[in-house]
Each structure stands twice: as C-alpha cells, then as structure tokens.
Subunit: 620 residues, 2 copies
C-alpha cells in the first residue's frame, strides 16, 4: 500500500504539461500536410503588454511576483490560479531544470537538454498570462514593495538592462548558492554541481583530464594526479556523482583510454563519520561497502582547509593532523548558503544575524508583510511548544535582558526568538484549553484542543511516534505511567517538556521545495475564501482561527543511486530498500516525476541510448 | 538510375562503425544480467605506450601523423590499413563532427551531441592501434620532419603541455578558419558557424535576443533591433542558417514570445548578385523567391565594410553608396582562409606568396617531401595543358625573368609556376604521342595517349562535355569541323587551346574532403605495391608511369535546405530537384551518411522529437 500510494502521488505530481495524445495527433496532422503547419491559434498579446505597466483590467488583480524557476517557483506557478492574479516571474534561467538528474548529466548518462523545460512552454497552456522576465533580481525593496531586476547576459544587445517591478505579493524562490565555508581556493579551483552549466562543465573537464593524462611526455605520477578525481562532500549529490563517474570510467572510458585505466582514482572526502549520514545507518553502511568494493576511496572525518591549483589540504578531525593530496578535478558539494540578494533583504527586515531567511509555518517571511519564501532560500521557524530543558540555564542568564528588550531581540536572534514565544505558547495553550478556568486541565478539555495542537506543533506527532505512544492523552500520564484525570500547568509543562526535541529544519531538497510551492499556490487560490472562512487551527493566544492550515511536509522517501545499477532508498514507513531492484524503482520514479512528456521521453531514451551505445566521450 | 547509384554510394560511404545487431545483442544481454556488465575484452595497452617513443617492432613501420579529425582526416583514417603504419592523430577536438548539420544545431532541430562521434570510439574497433592526442599542432618543422604540439585546454592539470612528434609521412587535414577579410569589428562582434561550439553559442544567443527583446522598459525600436538577425554570406551555410532560424521563429518562438512576433527580421547580406550562386541559377532563383515569401530580407550586391557593437555598415557595389543597419545577432559565414600553422608551414616550403597550400594531383604538398594535405586547408594545383590565351601578354612581359629564375620562382608564385609547366606539358604530350617522330600526330597516335591525357588533365573531359563533343578525337577537327588525319604541334596547341578554361579549384566542402581522405588512404595502403607496379598515367616528360592515378573528384550533388520542409538539390547528371520531396531526400541522405549507428539513431530521433514536441528554447 505504501509503495502504491507513493507511486500514485509521484505520478500525479508530474505536471502533465503535454497530453501525449494531442501531440501524436499533431504529428500525424503534420505528416499528412507535408509538414510546415504552424498553429497560430495561441492568443497573441500586444507588444505594449511587455511593459510593466499593467492595464486597467489587470490593475484590479493583485500583482504577484515570483523570483526563481526552480522546484519551489515552478511548483507554485503550476497550481496557481493565474486568472485571479497578475503574475510575473523573474529568473536568470528561462527554464526549469530537473536537478535530481544533474549528477547523471555530468557523465552523459542523461543529456542536459533532457532535464530542462522552458518556463514559457510550461506556462503557455494556462488560462491567463504569466509574464516571464529572464533577469536577475538584484534588490528587494520591502518597504516600497519594489524589485530591482537586471538582465545579466552579455549579449551586445540594445536597450536598458535594468528595470523595476512593483508587487503586491512577493514569492521568493531563488534557491541557494554553494557554500564554500570560506575555504581558500575553492571558488577558483573547484567545480560545483548546482546548475546545468556546472554539470556540462564537469563533463568536459572529466574528458579533458583523461586526454591530458594520456599525452606523451608525462610521468606516471603526473598521469595519476590528472586522473585523481576528488569529491568534497559525502551527501546525496556528491555520492551520486562519485558513483556516476565510477560507472563512466569503468563502462566507457577504460575502453577508450586503456593505457591509463589503472591510474584512475576517485576520492570522496566527508567531514562526518559516514557518507550519506542523513540517511538510515544501513544505507550509509551499504554505500560505504559498495564504494569500497568499487575502489572508490572514502575519507571520513576530514575537513578540507584549502585548495590550491595542484593540491587539496585536509585536517583529520580526530587527530588534528593536516595532510595534502595532489589532485586532478575537484567537485565541491558540501552544502548551501544564502544568496546575496536574500542576505540584503534579510538586513532590511531585521534578520541580519540569521544564516537563512526565516518564515512562519505559512511560509510568510517573518518581519515583513506580503512576502513569502520557499525552497532552499528559507527555513520555516517552527514554533516551539516549550522551553527546552537544556536551554533553561541559558534563559536564566539572559532573563533580564529578554524581559527588557523583547521586541527588538525577537527578530534579531534565533534563540531569544524561540524562548520568548515558547513561554507564551505553553501558557496560552493551557489557558485556551482550560475552558472552565479551573487551573486544571481535564482529559476532555485536552482532547478538545489536541487537533489544533497537532496541526500547529507537528513535533508533538513526531514525539509520540518516537516514544511509541498510541494516543495523545498518553502524554498526560504521570511519571509512573498511570492515567491522570487532570493536570495543572506545571504538570502540563512537564508532560510536554521533551516534545520540542523533535523540531527539525526541513532538508534542502527538491521534494520540500515542490511541496511548499504546491501548498502556497493553494493558499493563494483560496486567499479570499479563507479570509472569511478561515480553515487553520485556532489561535491559542487570541480568538478565532488562523486563515490557513500551516505547511506540513510529507516525506515520500529519498533515493541514493550508488552506481553499477544499484541504488539505496529510504521509503515511506521507514522502509529501506537497496540493490538492483531499487535502481529500477529509481528509474520508474524519476521518469514519472518529469515535468513534461517531452522531458520524460527524452530522459527514458537517454537511458536506453546509454544501454545500447554507452556514454558519449566527445569533449563538447 | 542516377538517384539509385547516388543512394548506394551515399550509404556505402557511411562508416558503419557499430553493427546494430551486435548492439541490440548487447542491450538484451545487459537487461538479462540486470545491467552493470562491462566488456573488458578490449586489448589493453600498457601506460608506456603513451610515450611518443615507439617500441622496436613499431619502429620498422613508417610513422604517419595525421593532423585534424574533420572530414578529410577521419575519412583517411577510416580506410587506412593501420597495421601497416604507426599512426598518430593530433587534433584539438577528440571527436568528428558531421558539419553539414551544424546549421540545424543552431536552432535545436538537431542536438550537438547527435552529430559528433568520439575519434577514439571510431578507432578502437580497428586491427591495430591508432594513437590520438588531443592537442593542437603549433608548428610543422618540415626540414627535420618534426611537429610541435600543445595541449591547449585550460584545465588546472599537471605535466608539460607541449610535446614533439616525429613523422615519416605527414597528413595535414586541419581544415581552415573563418575569413573575416580583415573587416573591422567582425572578430569581436559576430558569431561564426564553423565548430560545434559556435552552433551552441548561436543557439543560446538567439534565445537571449528574444528574452532581451521582451523585457520591460525597452522601446519598440530597441525590441526591433534586438530581433534583427543578420547573416553575412549567402552561401549554403548562411542560407541554411537563415532558413532554420526562420522556421525556429515561426514554428516555436512566436508561440512563446507572441508579443514580439511582428518585430523579428532576418537579413541575408550577399556580396554577389544572387544567394547560393555556386548552385544552378534555378536553385538561386527558387531560394530567393522562397525567402521573399517567408519575409527573409535578401540584400545582394552588398559588401560589409565594418561591424560595430550596434550597427553593420555596408557598401552597395553598384552605386558605391555606404549604408548602416542597426543589428541584433550577426552570423558571419563568408568563406575560409588558411590557419596560422599552415601559413607558417607555407613560409618554410616556399609557398609564402600563395593564399592556400598547394598540392599536386596526388595531394602531395608542392615543395616538400612526404607531406600530404587534403580538405579545406589545401587546393590541388591542377596542371594545365596549355597556356591560357589571356595569359599570353603577361608571359611576354615576364618571359626573361621566367627563363632566368625558373627553379626558384616555380615554387613561389602560382602564375609563373603554371606557365613554366604548361609550355613543357603540351610539347611533352606531343612528343610522347608522336611515336614515329614525324612531327605530325595521327588520330591513331592521339588515341593511344588519350586515356592518360584524360586522367592527368581532367579539364579535357569537362571541356568535351561543355562543348558537347562526343569523342576526344573531335578535338582535332579543323576550324570548319572537318576530320583531319593528322595535326602538327601548332595545330595540336590550337585544338587544346581552350581546354584549360575548365580548370577549377575544388569547393571547400565535406564531400571533397571525404573523397580526398578515402583516395589518400588507398594510396597509402598500396604504397609498396605501386612502387613496383605503378598504376598511374604515363610520364609524358620522362619514361614510365606515375605511381598512382591522380585524385579525381566525383560530384554527387549538393543540397540547400530552405526551411519550411523544402529544399533544393543539385543531383548528379545536372538534375535539379526542388521542394518538399527534396527535403525528404535530404533527410534520407543525411541520415544514411552519418558516421555511426549511434549518431544515425540520435539524428533521426532528434528530427522525430522536433515534429512531436518542437524545438527546445531553454537557454543552455
């Protein structure tokens, strides 16, 4: 059942941009007419429409500007009712890229073109018009609800490259950039794997390493160095790239460069104790064993401290020892950080001290009106139900300070921020639940508010699952496990004291971004409707209900392809799957999740091509 | 019959690198075994083999170095008996590109990857070893039979980038570079269409022009300028690109950028009076009418004199008037010139004053031993049978000079060069034919040498065809058309006086290069055999026969795709074909001419994809 529902969801999640039947019809009509037939029936707008000035009719509609066309942005746009809003999209890329297949592009298992779909293509079939600008947002002016954008391509073109846009609602979905942790030499000497262009560049570079290594006049040591591929970061991307590279070398390149086949070395450097440490331990272990058999060198517990044009220098975390490795191609895949435009925006809205832009549970940016942020550029600041026990000492040290400058601090620093809310939350919940103001909460009273608690504080549900408690009321049992009929505020606090340990930041994955986009579009579509009929949980601190239910992430599982037609996967229901069959599951899921029939056909034919002809090693 | 033989030849010309059946077998075996099976059965050479030092066994073999992996080089390598030679290939590109499809790549009708095939892939199935170096030949040292090569990719790699190679035979097939005719601003401000990278760059730039043109804040005039695509050069490449671009705009881009569909303008600038002027007049005319209907602006009789970042300045040849056009993207496709490395080589061997490297009819470089040149980098200096009548005055002015310094001059200047030979040739032919030394040539005597004349002087055959003479002996008729039984030397000269008007340089096409490569490989394969049993025509000036028959070009026709599923073609037998059916002929021929089954499948599936889904407009 789990697998079935997983598939159903996965395939229903595909955007189905192009119904296949209509396309086949088009093909046959083209063939019959001898080709050259072009459908001009699309509604063709006037040139003046490209001006940012909207016409009278559109002025009545609220202006929504979406920044970014990644998973979050596109997923938001796909479900948004664009007849209800005046929608504009700003992105330096006029396409959506199916990023989970980027590692496959680096070695030519899949072509770059097969994983991209033009945004305009995806939008043109919609009722209404989405205006797209291929530009980069340089500055968000939250006070005036204005954006400064710039066309950043060097193209010898005429006309002003800069323009500004006004918005009523802003959706920030610009993603994040690679985090080098300020390691010296990384920007200059390594490859990243964030964009389609990065993957194409890596592909060319891998071939170049081989071509250089076989040239006459090099010593064997020099050949070895050129063929030493180093991947920094043992997360899913780094591991998948290492696996793809290993397959590329073993299945294709050794046949073309037989003279250096024994000199190739692949090293994965991971700062943690295991690669894939966000996965279940069994998967980490399986991956490490597989890599060991394949001869991929895994160095765990190492932090890269610098990268020169010839060497990579690392520090062993356990001993503090520093060592250097001569290296060929280096791919840096260690994590992400906030983009400059978002950083600047955070400065404006009082989030300067934070690492990542914070939103509330409704993806609304904290400290700012009408701005939403989703995907990798933001994190949800999940409200906590209680003070963590281990925070107590910290609170006592700072208590005066907190009490004095609450308002200002609350937006400046995560820790204070949480603390101030928490103290209020637990009391507010108790107060709201204790209808008869008896100072005691009965089971009945607790049951009345429990649904709202579960929606507002998903950590309660996680806590119950972790502790294997069956009913929420089990929380109220006393220390010996006996049922109690009622608890006072102190007992209530004690019962919920460990719940917040289950608060976790969502991972920076496509899955999270896509779900957030879908969620936000549903909110936008029912903005008016829910203003009068709010559907969210009750306000514990005030009266009435929240307008919408908060965003809740559903984890549908995660894959880690390990090369040699083997993969590992964490599936819903804590189910772990590893091996060949998982790789075929991976093929099915990734084919079904493609955003259009075009890319689906291309990706599948790329896989087939690889089986028949191998990967292409032309350096283009 | 003509069409049939054309097809047969076309398909037999395909290299058939991968037998399809074996690949399908591989696929099924891979599926059965669950994937991951890698064939390691290829002979794996030792690392030491990469050194340029050849081992003892190989030292006995003559070292052949091939520069370039284009049509000429690959066609030479494909048929060469590599077990008989120690073969090395030097090229900055590790792949062969099917250049006739480059214009299709510019607009995404065909993907770049679909028209390239790695050289190593093409070579690995051969009996013996071809060593390939991805490097550029920087200098040919003809005196010492040495080459200086350099690895030119910036890749942070270790080890010396330069190395030298010794050769016994050198085959220069480096092609040519774009000729800007020193027009100011062309290098900086225009695109070329020679390499795969050029085509990819044009594709991105076309999309960028559209994206820039729809941005807010531009005037209509600015939008128009950004969407003004200018193609300089009305040859097959320029015309095909214009046609492809027009189709891309009309079939795909107008649907995605409807607001600017009426602002797009395509201009073809041609210095001659007609576009496609190397084709039959009917084709030029058909193309011009087609372009006129499509709204493609054709400006003939215009020479571009400069190109700035905003404007293109032209001179009308008829009136001398100078005018400027504001322009968007400019593609420069006007002709080719010699590459620097070849120019330097020409300086060394006394061809400094020539525009193009000259070879004899056996593709051997004049003024140099054991060096052959083929494809676009060289021209065959076809020996002439007679002095051109219009050269007479020139000869009289220079006659003393010629007589004094014959040897030195003969390699320095084309005109002198020919003259000196010609005077000898006609006399030598007469002398060789006049067996009884009677001072008169009988029809019988003429018939005995006519086969050798036809082989050595193909212009005689062309002349007969042009004058619609049936038999060669018709040449000896007197001025009234009456048969003569014999002619003296003056009569013989008169009879052949106009033959040399038929001497033409071969066009810089893939077809010529491929035939030259094939021809040269056959010569190399029978080098020893023909040394003792020469198979060429007789030496008129000395005794014996030439070692090989000279290279003779067979024109199999030429296509000019004109967009909208229409094409024009010049087919063998002076047959002209135009329209839809010709486009389908084009599809068939180009599919069959692919160098491997892989590229064939990819190209055909690209065409199919375009019919179903249209062209991709993602800017990658």
């Amino acid at each position: 059942m789990t697998i079935l529902s997983f598939f159903t969801r996965a395939s229903s999640r595909a955007f189905n941009g192009y119904p296949l039947s209509s396309k086949l019809l088009l093909l046959s009509s083209l063939s019959l007419s001898g080709g050259g037939v072009v459908a001009y029936s699309e509604s063709q707008a006037d040139v003046s429409k490209t001006s940012v000035q909207t016409n009278e009719k559109d002025r009545k509609k609220k202006r929504v500007v979406v920044l970014g066309t990644g998973w979050a942005g596109i997923s938001f746009l796909k479900d948004l009712d664009i007849s209800a809003y005046d929608v504009q999209v700003v992105s330096p890329r006029n396409y959506f890229a199916f990023t989970p297949l980027l590692p496959s592009v680096t070695c030519g298992t899949v072509e770059a073109r097969s994983i991209v779909e033009p945004v305009r293509n995806m939008m043109k079939k919609r009722n209404g018009e989405v205006r797209f600008w291929e530009a980069e947002c340089m500055k968000i002016d939250a006070a005036n609800k204005k954006l400064l954008c710039r066309y950043t391509v060097e193209n010898n073109s005429v006309g002003n490259d800069e323009f500004s846009l006004d918005y009523d609602y802003l959706v920030i979905a610009v993603g994040a950039q690679v985090n080098t942790f300020n390691t010296p030499g990384v920007l200059e000497n390594s490859h990243f794997l964030k964009e389609v262009e990065d993957a194409q560049k890596i592909r060319r570079s891998v071939i170049n390493c081989f071509e250089k290594a076989v040239l006459p006049g090099l010593s064997e040591e020099e050949r070895r160095i050129n063929l030493h591929f180093v991947i920094v970061g043992g997360g899913p991307t780094g591991v998948e790239f290492a696996a793809e590279l290993h397959d590329f070398v073993k299945e294709d390149l050794v046949n073309l460069y037989p003279m250096v086949k024994d000199l190739v070395k692949i090293t994965v450097i991971q700062s943690g104790d295991h690669i894939l440490n966000m996965f279940d331990e069994r998967i980490s272990c399986f991956a490490e064993q597989k890599f060991c058999r394949d001869g991929i060198n895994v160095q765990t517990g190492c932090r890269v401290i610098s990268l020169s044009d010839k060497e990579i220098t690392m520090k062993l975390k356990s001993t503090g020892e520093i060592c250097s490795l001569p290296r060929g191609l280096v791919v840096w895949s260690t994590g992400v950080e906030t983009r400059p435009v978002v950083k600047n925006f955070m400065d404006q809205i009082g989030q300067a001290n934070r690492r990542v832009l914070a939103t509330d549970e409704w993806l609304k940016v904290k400290g700012c009106e009408d701005v939403y942020a989703l995907g990798d550029c933001a994190t949800i600041n999940q409200r906590k139900i209680m003070v963590f026990p281990f925070d107590l000492e910290f609170i006592f040290c700072n208590i005066n300070f907190v009490l004095v400058e609450t308002t200002e601090l609350s937006t400046n620093n995560d820790s204070y921020f949480s603390i101030v809310f928490l103290q209020e939350d637990i009391a507010a919940i108790f107060k709201a639940a204790d209808k008869d103001n008896s100072g005691f909460l009965t089971i009945k009273e607790f049951e009345d508010v429990i649904d709202d608690i579960l929606v507002m504080y998903p950590q309660v549900k996680h806590y119950l699952r972790t502790k294997q408690l069956r009913a929420v009321t089990d929380l109220l049992k006393d220390s010996r496990g006996n049922h109690r009929d009622e608890v006072d505020i102190e007992g209530f606090k004690l019962a919920l004291s460990h719940v917040d340990t289950q608060v976790k930041n969502l991972p920076a994955t496509a899955q999270v971004a896509a779900q957030q986009g879908e969620y936000l579009s549903k909110c936008f579509n029912r903005m008016n409707q829910c203003e009068y009929n709010p559907e969210g949980p009750r306000h514990f601190k005030g009266s009435g209900r929240h307008q919408f239910r908060p965003f809740q992430y559903k984890h549908f599982g995660q894959f880690a392809p390990l090369g040699g037609e083997q993969a590992a996967a964490e599936l819903p229901g804590d189910w772990i799957s590893m091996g060949r069959s998982t790789q075929w599951l991976w093929y099915s899921v990734y084919a079904s999740k493609q955003v259009s029939w075009r890319t689906r056909v291309l990706v599948v034919s790329d896989w087939t091509r690889r089986f028949i002809f191998g990967r292409d090693s032309s350096r283009i």
